[in-house]
Amino acid sequence: MSESSERKIILPVGDSRLNEFIRRAGPIITAERGLNERSRLKLRSLADSLKLPNELFDLALEHFRQSGIEPKDKLTRFERAFVNWLTKHLNSTQQKILSTELEQAGLTHGTEKYQLTIDRARQLIHEVARDLGLQRVSLKQAESYLHYLVTDQIGSATVLNEQLRERLYRAAESWGVEIATVDGYIEQWLTENSNRERPSGTSRRVLALGSCALLIGITLYAYSIYQRQQHDPTVESDQNQLSEVEPSTDKSGAPFESSDLPPIALMEPHPNHPEWSETTIERLHAARPTTGLLDQYWNVLAAAEPDGRVALISELTASALAGHDETQRQAWVELLVLTLEIEPDPQTLETMISELTHRITVTSIDSSLTTPALADDLEDCFRSNQLAFQVWRTLDETSLPRRLLGQGLFNQTSVNLDALASVDTDEMFSEAYLPLAEQGLARQWLDYLTTLARLNPEQAGQFVIPIRQGLSDKLDHRSLNDRLEDILLMILENSPQSITHLKPVADEVIRNADHDRILAWGELLHSTQDHSLRQWLTTQLVLLLDIDRILGEEQQLSLIRSQILARQSELIGGHHALIRQWLTHNELLSKLVESDQLPNATAQNIADIAQWGTQAFALSRGQFELFQRLYQEPQAPLAMVAIANASRETLNLLDDAPFTAHATHHETLDKALAVLADKEVRPVTRAAALQRISAVADRFADIEFEQAQLLMTFLLNAQSDDEVIAIRKELGKLRHWLALQQALINQLESTTAPTDHLLTICRLLTDESFELATSDNWRAVLKIQLLSSLTGQLKIAIVRRNAENELLWDQLHDRLCDEMILRLRIVHSDGIPQDAYTLLIRTMTKAISSELNAANWQLDDYLAEDELHRAILAGRRLIDGVARAIGKRNPQIEHKITKIVTWHVVHSNQLQHYRDQLLLNELTLLKLWTSACQAN
């Protein structure tokens, strides 16, 4: 959108918070000279304090942007002209320092050409210089610095080369110092050098080298300060006045109150520490203009006792860590560097380094540690590292403090700064160290959390979130989450209730869990008894393993178990490990195998046991791939199969009514039925009554049989168009009434209704089509059809309502056939019969053991009272064959096999129901095949 076409923002009226924000935002924008990052931050803070909604805040900012963000121009026409001239002038000189000379020229120009007062001209010069990023240096300061530069760079030389001289001249020019003055310094220093005692050859060479090093150091130091001053965008004063490099008398920026240290009196002349060298003294004096806090703490530095200086380091470090003003922080860093560099006592220096670095550490295990205190420690650790590194970088490369600090940092972070510096460029180095060191520290914090998770899991649970927040930008996301995942596993294993407050982080890490950790979460689900944790783990693992969320909890758990086991088998491999895990990961299975108790003989239990039996058989035959496939794809519950087998949409028989019937609904139903029963009532009234019944039908799960009879009588006898239309329209809403279906069957033989009407009623009520038989007994045929339809529907409704019902035995038959077919495939049996369970068992028996003969089956056929009995007897033959085969193959477990067979015989003689016998057979096979697995 073009600017001209930009829609004008209209602020909503009447919002006191917005009005207040607009009122107070103006000065901020003006003070910050427009809508920039700083002003935005302040405005954000203001908005927060006023609880201004984000939408209004954004609107207001847009309003400011459209209405002009610049503060109103307070300059007069002449002032504006002067500022323009001065900006151009200073840019043209390409100076980075506002020297006295430049300032003086500006003042002259401002007063003479633009009729400004001296003060106003100076004010404007300072403002422009600040905007252009120029530092202001007094002539005295500049001369002092040049003097220092001359002495430092010439050192003890008696002859000055031209290159150095040129460089000093350029420096003088930059600082606004007369060339003659610099020449004077040079000549004076050279003369003094000449007058000094001439050192020996070796010493001279050493001195020369040292001088060169010092010179380079000083140059680099000066250059670094210079560069920082030039390029650091954060070096910006809030004051309108140009910040002076001169020692500040403003103590507001002092890192500590005067009461914290011995009273400091700025003394003239500055006292010196007895061990300070001349170079140090000169350096300190030279640094006074640029190191703002130096004069303030001069006496501390010069004191003979080192305690004050150690305290100074401690306080400067604390202040630098606490402060957020970069300028102040920079000043503290400079003083820290200087304090370290001039420290004459190596032992004190070590103490100072320790003061500077002791926070770069992980907090100790402490059960009383609070979460806020931990967060502070964490923040201090990383900020201390950054500060120490900044100090280290600023320190002279060859100095002892730098070496000691490098060692201190190495001790804390395990990053060798010197090694790093030797291979990388400076820029790369600075980029390299902090991430390396911070990664090391982050790992230490995670180690700490790991230990804590072991010792005090509840406290560790409290610390996870703050530590994660603190480390979020120190380690890459993946590494951090991986470590946290391990820690969470430890915490939740021992303190499962911690899941309640760990969910935000746990949700994220588990979603990205890798193979190993998925197994670990699965283990946790298997072992924990905590309901909340189980629930959370189930939900997460269902998502993670892509399990259907519609399934019931038990089935979900079963699928999770199977997938976890399958993954474990992939991971670990090995027959025995696989069997062990297969057994241990299914509590019910392991209990069944180890215990002599029999579980409830429900159809589903038998199906499950048969399924595990097939898995055990596959394992015992070394068919691991098939085992894994069987385990990963467990059979659906029988009830689900029964429902799924329904070929069409089923009626809602036996379902609870979606709405509860109240007294009024009962009254409506009763009255409407009374109308239907009244033969004197007009057909249209009866049709209306049927409509009223259908309107309340979803409030009744079923009706009384007498009511259903009455209603069916009306339905079958209805003749008028009004009634028939109403029936066609409304009867479908009454399909869920089982009693009505029964009433239709009941009246079928006696009704005199026309056949087409009767068929319509049948179709509307059952949602199925019927045809009338041509034979005389068409009523019986129709009744059979209706009974078959209703029986089928009712079965499905029963199964849907209760998965543990008595109508799943047919499904179990089919399931056991499937299992036996699988077993036959495992033994590579040819000619697998279909859908004849007994025949399947016998084929399996024949495949397992050749010792059995047809006479046994002849005997079973003779004895069996029905097909199920025959299957149970065949199952016993199979058990016998399996036991013999296993015993022959594994004589070492013969005793165990005999024990299982005896157990089977004892129970088979006691149990008196088909279901128990079926269960016993399948359980015995499971025990036998599991024993075979373990023996292999």
Binding site: F705, L790, A797, N805, D810, A855, L868, L911, Y914
Partner: protein, 322 residues
């Protein structure tokens, strides 16, 4: 030795008795004065005192009724069984059991002799081997009056026959069949009425007429029992399958959805004249068969181990303190 003893004893007694009672009894017998029964009391004389005879009367079943008969009431008392000789039979000579059983089993109208014979055959089968065992099985089969038990004895015998003679597995001949030798006209008539009555019963249940249903069910049960008695069990197979549910529904006067499924299945079977079939849902609700293993122990009502004869019965010694 013992078998010879008892054999001689029984034969001697029988010779005497046969003169008097046309060889219809083999046990101890007592005739009472003024008795309305044509047959003497059958059982075992326990003791004889001056005034009384302590007698163990054997009833139709296996119960033994101990009575003291005043001598003044006795017309005649014949003692043919020596309990001591029965007690003397030993597992080490299983043929003794068989031989005694064979003699006793030759008196089909003497219930007590039949009782003793069955047990003696059983003990002979249990302790005997080879042909002795197999002959005992044959004896048991010949005396068996229960079809299911006979089937079981035959199966056990087949299992114990090294030759696996398939003749063992012939269909049992039920007592009624033995009598009528086939499905009678009466059976067919009852079966037809049963079908109509069952449909009526289901209609009554659907109409919640439980009192009528109760009476009708009783009638149906009687008819079914009669059909079974007549040896045509297959004609009432559907009813027998659903019978437990029908009884429960009528007794509780309510039908659960699950029960409706079974009742309607029966109704479909009756209307379509097709059997319910061998689906497991239906089979599960049937009376359950005997699941015990085919061991010899499973064909007798008492354990043969340490079995002894006492007070007219074969009993198992109770384990006492050692």
């Amino acid at each position: 030795m013992s078998s010879k003893l008892i054999h001689g004893l029984i034969v001697g007694s029988a010779a005497l008795a046969s003169c008097l009672f046309a060889d219809s009894v083999a046990g101890d017998v007592a005739w009472l004065k003024n008795s309305q029964q044509s047959q003497p009391m059958s059982g075992l004389i326990l003791s004889v005192s001056t005034d009384f005879v302590e007698f163990l009367e054997f009833n139709a079943g296996r119960d033994l009724n101990k009575i003291a008969i005043p001598k003044s009431e006795l017309v005649r008392l014949v003692k043919t069984i020596d309990p001591q000789s029965l007690k003397a039979l030993s597992p080490s000579s299983p043929e003794g059991y068989r031989d005694s059983a064979e003699i006793l089993s030759s008196y089909p109208s003497d219930a007590y002799a039949q009782y003793l014979a069955k047990r003696l055959y059983f003990l002979g089968a249990y302790w005997g081997r080879g042909e002795i065992r197999l002959s005992c099985f044959r004896g048991m089969i010949s005396l068996c009056d229960d079809e299911a038990l006979e089937r079981r004895i035959r199966a056990v015998a087949f299992q114990n026959d090294p030759d696996r003679d398939p003749a063992w597995l012939d269909e049992p001949v039920s007592p009624s069949t033995k009598i009528s030798n086939g499905i009678s006209v009466e059976t067919t008539a009852i079966a037809l009425r049963l079908r109509a009555d069952q449909l009526m019963l289901l209609s009554k249940i659907r109409n919640r007429a439980y009192l009528d249903a109760f009476q009708l069910l009783e009638s149906i049960e009687r008819q079914a029992d009669r059909v079974i008695e007549l040896g045509a069990k297959e004609l009432v197979q559907e009813f027998e399958t659903i019978r437990p549910i029908l009884k429960q529904v009528v007794a509780e006067q309510q039908v659960s959805p699950e029960q409706w499924v079974f009742l309607m299945s029966l109704e479909i079977a009756l209307l379509s004249e097709r059997p319910l079939g061998q689906r497991w849902n239906s089979l599960m609700i049937r009376d359950q068969p005997d699941f015990r293993s085919l061991t010899i122990e499973s064909i007798a009502e008492f354990p043969p181990e340490r079995c002894f004869f006492l007070n007219g019965e074969w009993l198992s010694e109770q384990p006492g303190p050692r």
